[in-house]
């Protein structure tokens, strides 16, 4: 059974070796094939190449047609499944990583996965959890299961290796990796965490990548992705990033209950009687920059591809039941987000950009955002207004709506909200910035304060049907 599933996956991986690994770290990389697949609902920007042949089609043919013994009748043993030696295992590992660097289109993955029988899906998850856990288009419950397996086994292996004793250099490296993985485990919380948390992205190597969702991405009416910027790492900030997602989740649940009958809620639009639900994602799906490489756009392109794949994966899985989707992006993550929304078919319903070092898009007209785009800039934040990577989103000409983060007297609440000062204070609890980010995520653009006298006119009536 395992051999069959491994065969299925390894056969798919051979496509990578045929087509070759993608070029990396170029200053201007082409959009990934994952987002290059034809999308009838998308309007490609002028800079987006449309002639790109999606490799996912070949992958799908290979997986469902040739590779699957179910459809071909070919015995699994005819496929290169051996992982019995260290060399085989290393080759498998390398093939998986190559695949994840340039994955098939999420819709292709979703179709492929949906065509598998339940037992095949389970076997695939067991045979190649690193792959299944990170492929956009695979249902999140399976990704969570696969990633938790990898996390648990990697921690066990590292702890065992440290106990057995290795060189000092190896111990230092392994201990650093172990601390990073412990932080992910901590961020997942206990089994009874409320809301339930799922580990939907996991890269255990290097600085690592991880994404944890609070809530259910398959059913939530509102989905908010928190996109980080420079200095935010899995090892150093995963717990803090999930805490931020949890606080935004709480605020959104509270305000949705108080507002009731929210007109923008997909459930309300569909005439459903159920209470609207939310999901917030603490997303560290790309390598964020540090002081030594923040001047380059290379990592922003990596972020662009990962964000686009993430959004298209959600779109593929939700089908006709699309949620209200927002990106709440910070710092360098705003640049990566705007690259994704201007150079790929990915789209969102709302975008909040705070502390941005600049936009590759000239204005909001170049961004695939169906709703409002907000920009927030804190006092004493030297990154905002720098326009280092293009247009300054805070400029009037860019067209974004101002989101106040100053914490002055809130004319809606008639109280003083805490202000955000400096580049990393936007997500502090109790701040005007946090409240506004939560409101953006539930489609309440009219209630977002901008620090002007117009705030006095904002009331909850604006959020009600017929207002």
């Amino acid at each position: 059974m395992l051999a069959e599933a491994t065969a299925l996956l390894l056969a798919s991986l051979t496509v990578v070796s045929v087509t070759g690994a993608p070029a990396m770290s170029t200053s201007i990389r082409p959009p990934i094939s994952a987002v290059g697949v034809s999308d009838a609902t998308a309007t490609p920007s002028t800079s987006f190449p449309t002639a790109h042949k999606p490799r996912g089609t070949a992958l799908l043919d290979r997986l469902v047609g040739t590779a699957s013994p179910r459809s071909t009748g070919a015995p699994a043993t005819t496929l290169p499944v051996s992982r019995s030696t260290p060399v085989d295992r290393a080759a498998h590992h390398d093939a998986v990583r190559s695949m994840l660097l340039d994955p098939p289109a999420p819709r292709t993955v979703a179709n492929w996965w949906g065509a598998l029988e339940g037992s095949e899906q389970l076997r695939a998850t067991i045979a190649a959890p690193e792959l299944v856990g990170n492929l956009d288009g695979v249902p999140y419950v399976m990704r969570d299961q696969a990633n938790r397996t990898v996390l648990r086994e990697t921690i066990n292996d590292l702890e065992l290796g440290l106990d057995e004793g290795t060189s000092r250099a190896m111990q230092t490296r392994d201990d650093g990796q172990l601390q990073m993985l412990y932080s992910i485990a901590d961020a997942l919380g206990p089994a009874e965490a409320n809301p339930h948390r799922q580990l939907i992205t996991l890269d255990v190597e290097g600085a690592g990548k991880a994404s944890i969702v609070l809530g259910d991405l398959m059913t939530a009416d509102y989905v908010s992705y928190l996109v980080p910027g420079m200095f935010i790492s899995v090892g150093g900030n995963m717990v803090e990033w999930v805490d931020t997602a949890a606080r935004i989740y709480d605020e959104q649940v509270s305000w949705l209950a108080l507002l009731d009958d929210t007109p923008t809620a997909p459930a309300a639009r569909d005439g459903g009687a159920e209470e609207p639900t939310v999901a917030t994602v603490a997303w560290i799906g790309y390598q964020t920059p540090h002081l030594l490489n923040v001047g380059s756009l290379d990592l922003a392109y990596e972020g662009r591809d990962a964000i686009a794949s993430t959004l298209l994966g959600l779109d593929a899985l939700r089908g006709a039941d699309q949620p209200h989707v927002s990106l709440l992006a910070h710092s360098y993550g705003t640049t990566a987000s705007m690259l994704a929304l201007s150079e790929t078919p990915a789209r969102v319903d709302a975008l909040a950009i705070i502390g941005s070092p600049g936009s590759p898009a000239a204005s909001i007209d170049d961004l695939k955002v169906t709703g409002a785009v907000f920009v927030g800039e804190a006092a004493w934040d030297p990154i905002s207004n720098s326009a280092f990577f293009g247009a300054d989103p805070g400029e009037t000409a860019f067209g974004a709506r101002v989101m106040s983060v100053a914490g002055s007297v809130d004319l809606i609440t008639q109280k003083v909200l805490a202000g955000s000062t400096g580049h990393n204070e936007y997500f502090s609890p109790g701040t005007e910035s946090m409240r506004n980010l939560a409101l953006v995520g539930i489609g309440q653009a009219e209630l977002v304060t901008d620090g002007t006298e117009r705030d006095a006119l904002r009331t909850l009536a604006l959020a009600r049907p017929g207002a």
């Binding site: 919380g189 206990p190 009874e192 965490a193 409320n194 809301p195 948390r197 420079m230 200095f231 717990v239 803090e240 805490d243 949890a246 606080r247 709480d250 649940v253 509270s254 209950a257 108080l258 507002l259 009731d260 009958d261 002081l291 030594l292 923040v294 001047g295 380059s296 502390g355 070092p357 004493w380 934040d381 030297p382 990154i383 720098s386 280092f388 809606i412 609440t413 008639q414 109280k415 000062t421 400096g422 580049h423 990393n424 204070e425 502090s428 609890p429 109790g430 209630l447 904002r458 009331t459 909850l460 009536a461």
Partner: protein
Amino acid sequence: MTTSTSLRVLATAAVLVSLTGCTLQGPSPVTDTEARDRFLAVIDETQRLVGGAWQVDDDPTPRGCTVPVWVTGERYPALRVSENPRGDGQADRVEEAWNDNGLDVERSLVGDVIEIKAESDAGEVYLFRVSDQAMTLQGESECRPTD
């Protein structure tokens, strides 16, 4: 100065500027469990005071915090929702009860929503909101240093 160097300087400045605003509040002289129980007791008592049917969505997962400076800590959240609001009197009773408990209480109006926010000397935060549609009760316990 190159553009890359310029951004690095900006980034360094951002780090320095962000290293502000730390609380100087130390932990109260109780055990971690007692601190959490004390917080939840106020939440539970407020819920009973207001009455009605409540959905308890407390997350047992602790959240990170800092106490007092550079010391990593954690605190526990609470989230309760009731769809049976009973009018302005509920907000009055909550405000009075929290004042009697020695909390620092602020009352404000958020559009049609009455919001009562309170903070204890130990740094516990409580938030009660009521609208025509629902009542919500949130908060976070005292920030306690982790082992």
